[in-house]
Symmetry: C2
Subunit: 193 residues, 2 copies
Amino acid sequence: MARTQGSHAETTGPKVREAALKLFAREGYAAVSMRRIAAEVGVQAGALYLYTPDKQTLLFDLMRGHMEDLLADFAPGSGRPVADLEAFARHHIRYHLDRPDLVFIAYMELRNLDPDNFREIEALRRRYEDRLEAILKAGVADGVFDIPDTKLATMALIAMLTGVTTWYREGGRLGREAVGDIYWDMVRKVVRA
Amino acid sequence: MARTQGSHAETTGPKVREAALKLFAREGYAAVSMRRIAAEVGVQAGALYLYTPDKQTLLFDLMRGHMEDLLADFAPGSGRPVADLEAFARHHIRYHLDRPDLVFIAYMELRNLDPDNFREIEALRRRYEDRLEAILKAGVADGVFDIPDTKLATMALIAMLTGVTTWYREGGRLGREAVGDIYWDMVRKVVRA
DNA sequence: GTCTATACTGGGATAGAC
DNA sequence: GTCTATCCCAGTATAGAC
């Protein structure tokens, strides 16, 4: 059981978040103990509290980081609704397939957030949805989209696109490009672009 | 579910399942204790074990019952793909809006099932998906649907329809009929029916 | 910075009284 | 059929040694 002691602050902090991410995604926030996270990192449970004030903050930081990255990583702005919608759809799929664990947590662990944290995450989510709805509205105004209800179409399209993460497997029948093509085809049909 | 010998309680058993359903949906399986379920029922924790062998079985029975009901409640069979697809879409939405707690659990708590139980639930889910895909394939064969990939369309449509449960609120802007109409319109466009 | 040790709380499940 | 009492284990988090 002899192990090296010393300072590893620069690597241990990220490792804690990575371990929490992996375990929360796989087994759920409530089902994962701090001891288990510590074991995954290769550290004693008490040492985790050098890197996070508590378990709740560990979850919240993961979710907030994910939502902020999602918003920062992509902002459509060509002004041409069809091009913006295609960019949104392809980016959404690519981004979500690249981060299956974060996506899973962001969707599944909302109810395990403290009320204040929940509100903050929900606000970020709303901003993302609003971005898609703005594209749809612009397309309707331009006459290039035919959409009875842009709010419902927004929710329907996001649910459809996010659903990719539930069945996509690396090395499966279809690659990311092919999946992106097929989903963009379906998205386009929904709005009749 | 295995009852203990000589049980005559006809109301407590169902109450236990109702309480578990409500609490699992609201807070998650892992976060809910047997003591909490017992308190909700108005009984001591030990008494729960008269009605279920353990907590896992409580979860499994809820999920299996839900999936079996979903399959039993609806089997399209007109042979006309467009009519069958509309019936599927409208039924899926109605059924899911009627049972938000069960739907939530069925999607969120899969990872908390023991391996054997997981396999059984997955098999039921697969049967449901296959039903939709059969409709899509029939429509393609008949030339009334235009679908590049029926498997992906199946997953996309189910994700889209199920997504209704994430935002629909009773007494909101749109009633169930209106929501059903708008979603059926989107479904139809996806398959170009 | 990480360790061991521990405080304190709560978990699932069982035994046996009534 | 439900109760109280209890076993045993695990949870989060902290204190203080090294």
